[in-house]
């Protein structure tokens, strides 16, 4: 059978006719397979949802317990029949609970990576290479300019700045699911044992991570009900970056804006966002990880989605791998 008969894009999302399901659909559907809990991939309103236990929990936290008609948890590595196709989930290394989804039918195997990274991350299971015929790769950072440095080095920059400017509060912008908790864990790994202050939007997910055995140390809400501004001098505060522009940020003394994201590799990006201390920490693959992974899967064909598709397609051409952009709509570029 042709690969496009097993999986192909529809306005709702990536559709599998023989299994009659969608992967990460952007509109409500009858049956959805979800790779991970980020809101552009995991939307409420589907009748049936198949995902890892953690992803289902995260969806319930974010969208409320009634986010789907019914749910079924998949253990990583287990195989299941959906319609005529064999489906299995494999760790993607992106955030807690994230998975690649393998779809197999009549000897043809397609792996949809969802979002993934290869760099080590103490808050989630490491990516596993799954040999396949067609590999669907994300392309968020698919340009040779993106090479993420060692995250520990970036955390070192933050700790040095805290030492250098002890009178200021360091506000670290981080995506609420995954990045925020990874930054906390990385700080702990470098011996930072003071309380970390967090924005309300991050509290429940961080609590869930702690519950799942990811030790984030002492977390405190960044509120000033009884204290005053100087309480936050020298503190590290983690918040979604959108909160910086908010009146919320006024409670901190001379805040120093940091942002933990792969985009911070580009100086102009940091400058435009008013970021003083960029921390290049990403939950997506950089250029080297993307191209390494494509080769390791042994896939003869690569479909590229959300991001800079053209560069990864070009690289595949140069390396004798057939490739095409998938043109899925509805996924955010800013998901890092």
């Amino acid at each position: 059978m042709r690969a496009r008969d097993l999986l192909h894009p529809r306005p709702e999302g990536l559709y599998c006719p023989p299994g009659d399901f969608y992967i990460d659909p952007v509109r409500p559907v009858e049956r959805a397979l979800i790779t991970h809990g980020h809101s552009d991939h995991a939307r409420p309103g589907h009748a049936k949802v198949l995902a890892t236990r953690e992803t289902l929990d995260i969806m319930a936290i974010r969208c409320g317990p009634g986010f789907a008609g019914s749910t079924q948890a998949m253990a990583l590595g287990d195989k299941i029949k959906v319609g005529d196709v064999t489906v299995s989930f494999h760790p993607a290394g992106h955030v807690l609970g994230s998975a690649q989804i393998s779809v197999q039918h009549n000897g043809l195997r397609i792996v949809a990576s969802g979002d993934y990274k290869r760099a080590s991350d103490p808050t989630c299971a490491a990516f596993e290479v799954v040999a396949c015929d067609v590999f669907i790769s994300e392309a968020t950072f698919a340009l040779p300019v993106f090479r993420h440095p060692d995250a520990a080095h970036e955390i070192g920059k933050l700790l040095k700045s805290v030492q250098q400017f002890p009178e200021r509060a360091h506000l670290v912008g981080a995506y609420a699911l995954g990045k925020a908790q990874r930054v906390m864990r990385l700080l702990r790994d470098q011996g930072y044992d003071k309380p970390i202050y967090i924005h309300g939007a991050i509290a429940r997910l961080s609590e869930y991570y702690q519950h799942q055995g990811v030790d984030l140390g002492e977390l405190q809400p960044a509120t000033v009900e009884d204290g005053d501004k100087s309480d936050f001098a020298g503190a590290i505060v983690i918040a979604p970056s959108s909160a910086f522009a908010d009146r919320w940020a006024r409670r901190f003394p001379d805040p120093l804006a940091c942002f933990a994201s792969g985009w911070m590799r580009i100086r102009q990006r940091a400058k435009q966002g008013g970021v003083e201390l960029p921390l290049i920490i990403s939950d997506h693959s950089d250029w080297i990880e993307l191209t390494d992974t494509i080769k390791e899967t042994g896939a003869g064909e690569v479909w590229v989605t959300h991001g800079r598709e053209e560069a990864l397609v070009r690289w595949c051409e140069l390396n004798g791998i057939s490739a095409r952009p998938l043109h899925l709509v509805g996924y955010e570029d800013e998901g890092d």
């Binding site: 300019v145 006024r250 390494d292 390791e296 070009r314 140069l318 390396n319």
Partner: protein, 573 residues
Amino acid sequence: MNRFAELLDRLVLTPSRNGKLKLITDHFRAVEDPDRGLALAALTGDLDIASVKPAMLRQLVSERMDPVLFGYSYDYVGDLAETVSLVWPEPSRNASPVTPPPLTPPHKGEGNVDASESPSPLWGGVRGGGSQEHDPKPKPQTLADVVAALQSASRSDGPAVLARLLDQAETSARFAIIKLVTGGLRIGVSARLAKQALADLGPVDVAEIEELWHGLTPPYAELFAWLEGKAPKPEQAAKAPFRPVMLSNPLSDGDLEKLAPADYAAEWKWDGIRVQAVSEGGIRRLYSRTGDDVSGAFPDVVASMDFDAALDGELLVGVPREATGTFSDLQQRLNRKTVSAKMQDRYPAFVRCYDLLQLNGEDLRGLAFTERRARLETFIATLDPDRFDLSPIIAFESWQQLEGMRSAPPHPIIEGVMLKRLDSAYLAGRPKGPWFKWKRDPHTVDAVLMYAQRGHGKRSSFYSDYTFGVWSGAEGQEELVPVGKAYFGFTDEELRQIDKFVRDNTIERFGPVRSVRADKSNGLVLEVAFEGLNRSTRHKSGVAMRFPRISRLRWDKPPAEADRIETLQALLD
């Protein structure tokens, strides 16, 4: 090298002056000689490295990667130096544990790929990283290594030397190296700020650094040794050194009541730039008020400095006895390394002198103003009258009389009067009392708030930088054209009010910038004060304001009644 690169990275993104000073001073403390001295020279623009053209950078990178992938990258990043620093092959990553499976050979004629030769097929056509193949673990490069390699490179081996340095550097360091060789760090740090950071290291007065500066050369080991208390102050070695200038205080309310008119001389305050013309032992230098050597831009003035003296005065353009040009005219001559004959002819420069600091080896700074002035008058008479003239003394009996002259000056480029105490010595810095500046009242214009940008640090959650515009176009079709940007002049309470207005009236957002409602009947009118206007080809309105600040919030005024562009244009002529 990495420490210098990290310093540059932080400086680029640190908006506050104090933050920058702290970063630079910490760097000087943490880094040893000669690297810290070379970093200082890089910041002050005193590092002498042959420059590299952008075309050469492109050439180097095109030998190393697929041009299509480079094109995508450059489009995305937008800055050549940064793109090259980011895409340059990273030798250390070649040693990643990943074992690539055998590749299908690429199609013939497909780019410049040759998989069998490339150690890094990950790269999409990147060829190997030069010396890395022979020396997989080089010792970390210091800034001194990099500077030495670049300074000893000849024109022909320049590209190869640069490539080798980039091969051995990490990402940030590659960016720093490229910035060094393409000239101009452009990181928002002036030479003056770097000197202030040095002064903070002592701490000593920045005037002491400025005075010594022109006798010193990179890497400034003796200067650092003195600042750290390990050696005596370096001797002033340079001929024709800069002497720290004496500055005035603005006259505040109530000051005049305490001053006797008979104790002060008055002069016009000319709207040029303050310079010090020093010629000693055959060396001639023209300094800015912060001690930067600007001789290169004013060969016409320097050619006439056939004396042995140090003069303090205002640099202006024009012909002294006939016409004095405007600040816009003067700007044609500023910030140039060299200047064409045509430019010198069209905008001849001269110095309107008001003080004499040194004459034939004698230091006059300890003398009273009246004595220095008498010597100055005699001395000026011996100089080329097209290049040096005397700033006239204004005769006045009472402050009221002087006030009358101040508000109706005889020449458009006079921006007020200076008061100088007759018995005052010439003192470095800004002593309170002997010199006052009494500026003409600023111009004001009623403009409409158009865009607001978030501030930094303490103001990072406030929209505190305002772009404002005035009306332009035919009646019935008026539209606002931006005429300037201001971020101070208001109180904290007013800042809160404007911030609320911006949040409540946002119509569009672009990153940290919001555009706000601004039409005939809705909008906020700002009274903007400014010191003068220059013609500008960079701004749509054709004008650029000098020193604009918000003087009042006109909540009472409907935007339709704000000023028109013609009001500003009238000030230009």
